[in-house]
Structures are given as C-alpha cells and as structure tokens.
C-alpha cells in the first residue's frame, strides 16, 4: 500500500472557533492507481490533498506512506519526501517568472541530494511532456497549456512515486486541458500513481477510482468501470505548430 490514511482529523483554529475540515477520513491508495478526489468547494478536498501531499499535518490520525508512519517526521524530513517521492501540479502552474523552461524544471533538483546530470534529467522530463524543443523559452513566453506541461515536467524530474494534481485543467481551455489529461494518463500507464483533485466529473472520469468527499467526510469511493472511463487525446495547441 502506497498511501494509508487512518482516522485522519484536521481542525482549523481561527481564534477560538474550531472548524472541522476533515472528520475521521480513512483512505488507502495502492501503487499505480489513478484516483480522483471530487467534492464541492469547501468540502475539504484540497485539505485532504495537502495532507496526503505532506504540505500540511493532520490534527490527529495515522498516515502511512509507503509503509512508513510519518507521524513524528520533522519539517526537513517532510520536505525531503515532497522533493523526491511526490510531484505537485497546481491549477495556476506556479512557474518562476523571468526564468527559462529548463531552469524551472531543474528547480526541484536544487533541493535534491543527487546532483548529477541535472540538465539531462530535466530534458528527459520535458521530452516526456512533449516540450523537448522549448528549453530556453522564458516561462512567460509560452501558452497556458505549455505552462502546465512544464509544471508536470517539474513534478516528474525527481522521479516521484506519486503525482498530485490540484485542478490541473482548471485554468486551461479544453484543447490544452485534454493534452494535459492525456499526459497524466500516459504517466499512469507507465506505473505512476496519480491523485487528481477536481470538481469536474468529466475530468474525474479519467481516473479508475473516484473518491467523493463532502463536509470533511468521504461519502463515496467507487471504481470507474472501464466502459465509462474518458480517455483524452493529445491535441497540439496552435503554438506548438
């Protein structure tokens, strides 16, 4: 089991007013799965993803990652896990401005223990998302779809076990969105675990399993029958031509 959450509770304390964001969540994800976490806004799906992604610590409960109990981990240990075992893709890309595509992808390697072949590894990651030719473009000179693909390459560069994608198509048009989903599917087929947070059913249907969360509780957890799954094609956006 790659991810195992047991009785995870997350409370936010806003000056004495305690908001219960996650109430007793239990969730297991096996290696190689493609899981979509769905829910309306305010349901706690982002908090759940932040907790699974070690950006946030649960108030109580046990989190086993790759069989390891992460409860007593220090901030530095969590940073190391985020660096080389997890990749993040955000809705708003979060690329560094005034920085080349290649340097953006190389950024996680700056915090990685293995310093060898940084440029080569970044190039391999960019080729995997079909941007092997745009290494020296500045991050503000490329289209939104390309930005998200750079972000995926950045998530891939340290060869993580799992990729977290938080509304990866939220800021994209349908063509670019479909290219991005196509890449995520491809990565999943190669054996990488994908955890996708979305409120869009069509996007969620790319996954093989949909977990629905409402008011901090998991209300449904179903496998998607192969017949209902949506598969995106890679659509070249205009700027790629």
């Amino acid at each position: 089991m790659l991810i195992e959450l047991k009785n995870i509770v997350k409370n936010y304390d806003n000056g004495g007013v305690v908001t219960k964001v996650l109430r007793d969540v239990n969730l297991s994800v096996e290696e190689g799965e493609f899981v979509a976490i769905m829910g309306p806004s305010g349901s706690g799906k982002s908090t759940l993803m932040h907790t699974i992604g070690f950006l946030d610590r649960p108030t109580s409960g046990t989190y086993l990652f790759d069989g390891e109990n992460t409860e007593g981990f220090s901030d530095d240990e969590l940073a190391r896990i985020r660096n080389n075992r997890i990749g993040f893709v955000f809705q708003s890309f979060n690329l560094l401005p005034r920085t080349s595509v290649l340097d953006n992808v190389m950024l996680p390697l700056m915090y990685n223990n293995s310093k060898a072949n940084q440029e080569h590894r970044a190039k391999v990651a960019l080729e995997a998302v079909g941007l092997g030719e745009r290494l020296n473009f500045m991050s503000n000179q490329i289209s939104g779809g390309q930005k998200q693909r750079v972000a995926i390459a950045r998530a891939l560069v340290c060869d993580p076990k799992v990729i977290f994608a938080d509304e990866p198509t939220g800021n994209l048009d349908s063509k670019s969105g479909s290219t991005v989903m196509n890449i995520l599917e491809k990565l999943n087929k190669e054996g990488r675990t994908i955890i996708l947070v979305t409120h869009d059913k069509q996007v969620a249907l790319h996954a093989n399993r949909i977990v629905t969360i409402r008011d901090g509780e998991i209300v449904s957890d179903v496998l998607v029958p192969e017949s209902e799954r949506v598969h995106s094609k890679e659509i070249k956006d205009d700027t790629d031509l």
Binding site: H50, G53, L55, D56, D75, D76, A79, R80, R82, N83, N84, F88, F90, N94, L96, R98, D103, L107, P108, M110, Y111, N112, K115, R154, C158
Partner: protein, 427 residues
C-alpha cells in the same frame, strides 16, 4: 562548493533581471561605503600633507616652551595662559657651548598682532620677533632684500622683513626695500595719556610666497628684531618660546636632556616633576598631530558608518517587500522540497550579494571621488598625496557584507517560516 557558486550565479541573474530596483536597494550602501572610503582617503592625504610640511621645517629642531606640560598633551600656552618663566638669560645659557654643546643656533621668540601702516595703506597682521639667526633655523626664502643680521637682531635695529601678502598690500607698486612702515603699538600703560604710539621700521627684505604651512599663512606675517618686539611692542620681559637647532638628528634627544639640565639649574629646580618649562622635538609634535588627526578620522569614519547602517535598514525594507512579493514562489519552493534552511539561505544570499555589490560600487565611487579631490588639491598648489589604504577597502567590504547578513537575516527568517499552503494560496 560548486552548488554555492551556482546559487550565487542564479541570484545574480535574478537580481540583474530587476536592475533598477536592485540598484535603488543598494544606493544607501554605495553612498555609505563611498563616504567611508573618501573620508579615510582624505584624512590620510591631509595628514601626510601636514606632516610633510612640518618635516620640512626640519627634524633637528627642538622647541622650549614655558610652563610644564604633559608629554603628549598640548602646551599650556594653547589654553591662552601666559607663562613668564622663560627669559633671555635662559636663552643665553642654552647658547653656552660648554653647557649645550650640540646646539648650533638658539633663537627666542615673541609673537603678537599689530597694525602696520605705510602711507595710506594699512594692514592687520601678526609679527614674529626673533634673532637674526632665524633663517639658519627655519627655511626662509627671500624674494627681495635680506633677512636682518645677527647684529641687527640682537641690537634691536628698526628693520623689518615683510611676508609676501603684507608686502603687496602695503606697497602695491612694489618698491618695498628701503621704504618705511609704522607699527601701531596699542598703549598698555594706563597712566599714559596717549592712546597709542607708532614705531617706524625700515623694510630690508620681502619673503617669497610660501602659502600655508602647518595651518598658518606664512605670507601674512612680518619679522622684526627680538628686543623691539618684546620690549617696545608687547612691553614684556619674558620669552614666549625658543627654538634650538641641533647639529645632527642623532643628537636631538641628548640636546633635549642638556637643555633640561641647564634650565633646571637656572630655575633652581631639583625635582623634574616641578619643571616650569617643557622641551619638545618635532617627533613629539608629529606624534601629537597624528593623534589629533587620527581621532578626527575615526570620528568621521564612524559618521560615515552610520550611513551604512541606514543603508542596511533600506536593504531590510526592500528585502521584506521582496519576501512578501515572492510569497507564492516561496510556497512553491517549499512544496517541491525546499527546507527552511534552503529558503533562509536563498534570501540571505540575495541580500549579501546585494550589499557586496553595493560595497564594490561604493569603493569604486569613493576611490574616484577621492582621486578627483586629490587632483583638485594638487591643482590648487598643495603637495597632496592620493592615498587609498587597503585597510579602508577591506573594512568597507567586510562591513557591507556584515550589513547584508544582519539586515537580511530578519526577512530571510520570515521567508523561511512561511507555511507552504498559506504561501501557495497567497494572492
């Protein structure tokens, strides 16, 4: 090591991508460092100028002043106290070859301020009354005529040697030699009915233009025989100070001891603690002057240092703005694995690179301005040395780097403490 170099390179690239702002950020540091460099350079230049002029007076001179004074402190006369413990019989004793064998010349001095009149012209100036051996003790160059002789100096003839500026004021037409000038003597005797009287002098020499030596304009003074200045103009019977020329530099210290022995005998002093005179050589004067100018330099340097602190606060301000502007970037860096230490070092490095650059630019600016000032001073006729001490440069760079660390630390720690989720959500 190579990663640090790479990070420095990345930081420089990053800072250069916002040149205008980076420059404004370090402007305070540039000015502060330039200030320190200029002050230290000018201080050293001025010091070497003054010391050079003093050394020109001759390093084998010994001065005797009335009144006891501390070795390194200023003479009592500086405080305006008139001490009458030195007189002409002391001078005669010092002139005694049997008692002070290595003294080649001994001259007594009195000085004062007078008004000199020639025809319709009159000028306020200072006079020095001394013996005719003065030119053999100190460097005197005449443009016209001669200095008064030993005989004229001792007998008190009514002859006068004019400084360059005095001569040109009193004799606009230039025929000074043989001319007669009058020195107006304010009447110090209350029983006399006359408010003042005047003494005529025959001009026998005019000095060459000498400029300012040791803070004193050498062209704005006149020389007259000792006894006239002492008795007739000042109406006193003591000597204000004496200068003694020693035959050889190596004999200066022994001659000073000889003089002290003679004067103690003359003044019936058995315990040196009760000395009513002080004997100094030029080395003492140089030491005193150096200590004064050094203090001044340290003080001015500190003033410039304060501007460095102000510059540092400017850096801190901008770094705080930068941190809040780049909150999302910090969040992202943390999400992809940066530790607190990574983030802290990133911002600390940025402020150190900034202040270091400010230090280097400040040094360049400071050296440039110091050089221009040196050129200006030379153009104005001073024998000015352009001095940049490596100490000042090292100090400036060190202080600017320390400024970067001190004032960059708080913003950097603030950045490092940011919660990744809060930072990622920050708009």
């Amino acid at each position: 090591m190579s990663t640090l170099l790479k990070e420095i390179k990345t930081t420089i690239k990053d800072l250069l991508s916002r040149k205008g702002r980076s420059f404004l950020t370090i402007l305070g540091i540039i000015i502060g460092v330039a200030g320190v460099i200029i002050i230290i350079s000018l201080g050293a230049g001025a010091q070497s100028l003054v010391l050079g002029q003093i050394t020109k007076l001759g390093s084998n001179l010994v001065a005797v002043l009335p009144g006891k004074s501390n070795e390194n402190g200023p003479p009592t006369a500086v405080f305006g106290v008139q001490i009458k413990t030195l007189n002409l019989s002391d001078i005669d004793m010092m002139n005694d070859k049997g008692k002070v064998p290595n003294a080649t010349e001994v001259a007594p001095f009195v000085r004062g301020n007078v008004t000199i009149v020639s025809g319709h012209e009159n000028v306020d100036t200072s006079f020095t009354a001394t013996y005719g051996n003065y030119p053999r003790i100190q460097n005197v160059e005449m443009s016209k005529g001669v200095f008064f002789s030993d005989e004229e100096g001792r007998s008190g003839s009514n002859v006068i040697v004019l400084g360059y500026d005095v001569a040109s004021s009193l004799f606009p037409n230039g025929n000074e030699i043989g001319g007669v000038v009058k020195i107006i003597v304010p009447n110090t005797n209350p029983s006399s009915t006359e408010s003042s009287n005047s003494i005529p002098f025959r001009v026998i020499g005019v000095q060459k233009k000498m400029g300012t030596v040791a803070f004193q304009n050498q062209d704005d003074q006149v020389f007259i025989p000792f006894s006239i200045g002492q008795r007739q103009i000042l109406g006193i019977d003591y000597v204000q100070f004496a200068r003694i020329k020693v035959n050889n530099n190596l004999n200066v210290k022994s001659t000073m001891e000889d003089i002290k022995r003679v004067l103690r005998y003359q003044h019936h002093i058995t315990n040196p603690d009760n000395d009513d005179f002080s004997v100094r050589d030029l080395a003492d004067a140089i030491k005193l002057l150096t200590s004064i100018t050094d203090t001044l330099r340290v003080f001015l340097g500190l003033m410039a240092g304060i501007s460095l602190v102000v510059g540092g606060i400017g850096i801190m301000n901008i770094m705080l703005v930068t941190v809040s502007e780049r909150t999302r970037e910090i969040g992202l860096r943390k999400a992809i694995g940066a530790t607190r230490k990574n983030i802290r070092n990133q911002f600390l490095l940025e402020s150190i690179v900034l202040t270091f650059a400010g230090g280097v630019l400040g040094i360049i600016l400071g050296v440039l301005i110091s050089y221009i000032i040196a050129l200006g001073a030379r153009f104005a006729g001073y024998d000015w040395a352009f001095i940049i001490s490596p100490f000042a440069v090292i100090l400036a760079v060190t202080v600017s780097i320390i400024t970067g660390i001190v004032f960059g630390l708080y913003p950097a720690l603030k950045a490092a403490k940011l919660d990744p989720i809060v930072a990622l959500r920050y708009e």
